[in-house]
């Protein structure tokens, strides 16, 4: 679980059109998809968008497995929402809602699957540049985002690991042994990551600069 693209597909090296597209453009696409999902009124339009995005994703060479990997964690949620909305608002609306969510997920994965992490960080650093004068530190901001993106699959992974260690001791029915460790391991992971960065001189505030 740990190493897998969860919600966001992992980067796949490549030289496709999507890989070479400027980061700003890809981000704009993600952003637009987020907006569009509130504007589209017809499920057929959503379906069209989803189809186009999936096409782009496959064009990038990242493969259908990765695409499915990113979407899979949401499958249960989407099924529940879909059925519930169908019952409440009818099939077309339910379809639109579910498709719109998929559009957002695939768009975000398209960005992460075709952009190496350091380019993403460079992009954030550039975007946050103007806030420097208000005391922001773009480099550290970008680093934090980088760690967060990496932590989502990690946390999902700890669920599995914790279940393993509870099972190994025959405690798989003990809610305390299942819930608490997820949080404890996540915090431990956070501190470990922080220390690992600090040891490499990353992420610390400038001590030479104003303090």
């Amino acid at each position: 679980m740990r190493g897998h693209g969860f919600l966001l597909a992992n980067y796949v090296a490549g030289d496709s059109l999507v890989h070479r597209a400027p980061l700003a453009l890809k981000f704009l696409l993600v952003f637009a998809c987020g907006l569009a999902s509130f504007v589209t009124v017809d499920w057929r339009m959503s379906l069209g968008m989803l189809g186009a995005l999936c096409g782009l994703f496959l064009l990038s060479g990242a493969g259908p497995k990765r695409l499915w990997g990113a979407v899979r964690p949401l499958a249960a949620v989407l099924l529940v929402i879909g059925l519930f909305q169908w019952w409440q608002l009818g099939a077309p609306t339910a379809g639109r809602i579910v498709l719109n969510i998929l559009v957002c997920v695939v768009a975000a994965s398209l960005l992460t699957a075709t952009t190496p992490v350091h380019k993403l960080l460079d992009g954030v650093v550039r975007a946050a540049g103007p806030f420097k004068r208000f005391g922001a530190d773009p480099e550290r901001f970008a680093l934090t985002i980088g760690i967060m993106l990496r932590s989502i699959p990690y946390i999902a992974g700890t669920f599995a690991d914790v279940r393993d260690s509870a099972r190994a001791r025959g405690l798989e029915r003990n809610p305390r042994a299942l819930v608490l460790p997820v949080f404890i391991t996540s915090v431990a992971f956070a501190r470990q990551t922080g220390e690992a960065l600090a040891a490499r001189g990353l992420g610390e505030a400038d001590d030479e600069a104003e303090d």
């Binding site: 919600l7 966001l8 993600v30 952003f31 998809c33 987020g34 907006l35 999902s37 509130f38 504007v39 964690p73 949401l74 249960a76 949620v77 989407l78 529940v80 929402i81 519930f84 409440q88 719109n100 969510i101 957002c104 997920v105 768009a107 975000a108 550290r140 680093l143 934090t144 985002i145 980088g146 760690i147 967060m148 993106l149 932590s151 989502i152 990690y154 946390i155 999902a156 819930v179 608490l180 949080f183 404890i184 996540s186 915090v187 431990a188 992971f189 956070a190 501190r191 470990q192 990551t193 922080g194 220390e195 960065l197 600090a198 992420g203 610390e204 505030a205 001590d207 030479e208 303090d211």
Partner: protein, 214 residues
Amino acid sequence: MSNTETAATKTPHAGRRRWNATDLGLIAVFAALVAASALVPGLAVNGFGVPITFQTLAVMLTGLVLGPGRGFAAVGLYVLLGLAGLPIFSQGRSGLGILAGPSAGYIIAFPIAAGIVGWLATVVIRRTIKARALWLFLSATVTSVVVVHSLGIAGIVLNTKATWGQAFLSDVVFYPGDIIKNVLAALIAVALHRAFPDILVRRVKRTAPQPAQA
């Protein structure tokens, strides 16, 4: 060598302490925790399509464990990335459009709530050893009523054509769940403070003054 020069610039506790790498790690991971909590399917939905979610648990826990500054930053980062297009709002939604929807008030309230409950937690941790869980629970519940639910209701009224009364009634359904989640958040927070005693109130003090010269 550089002693005289650095002595002047390094005043560790004057003014705001700057975050170190560990703080950044904590902010990032708690933001991720909130994101992960949004994906746990929220079954019931109130009249305006706002689901019951585990976000409130994660948001309160973030404040209770990280304190005001880092708590606000972590949940703020989560909201920012969600608005930017990462599918991490409830039910995998994302984007600026959410600000026009019925959840808008709740989402805006999240970082503020984390900040306030974080401040309360600092006070509780400094003052108490026993019954910490109870005080933390009370802090979370007061914050959730005063900040999350009131801003949430305001959001519903603003973004839908509902009256205050309708909005209030639709919000009330969340209370039982939120209270249970706050109990959990408080219990987990107490355990986390035991596992990581220096996470919020820094215990390590520099005892002896620095020798001026070697």
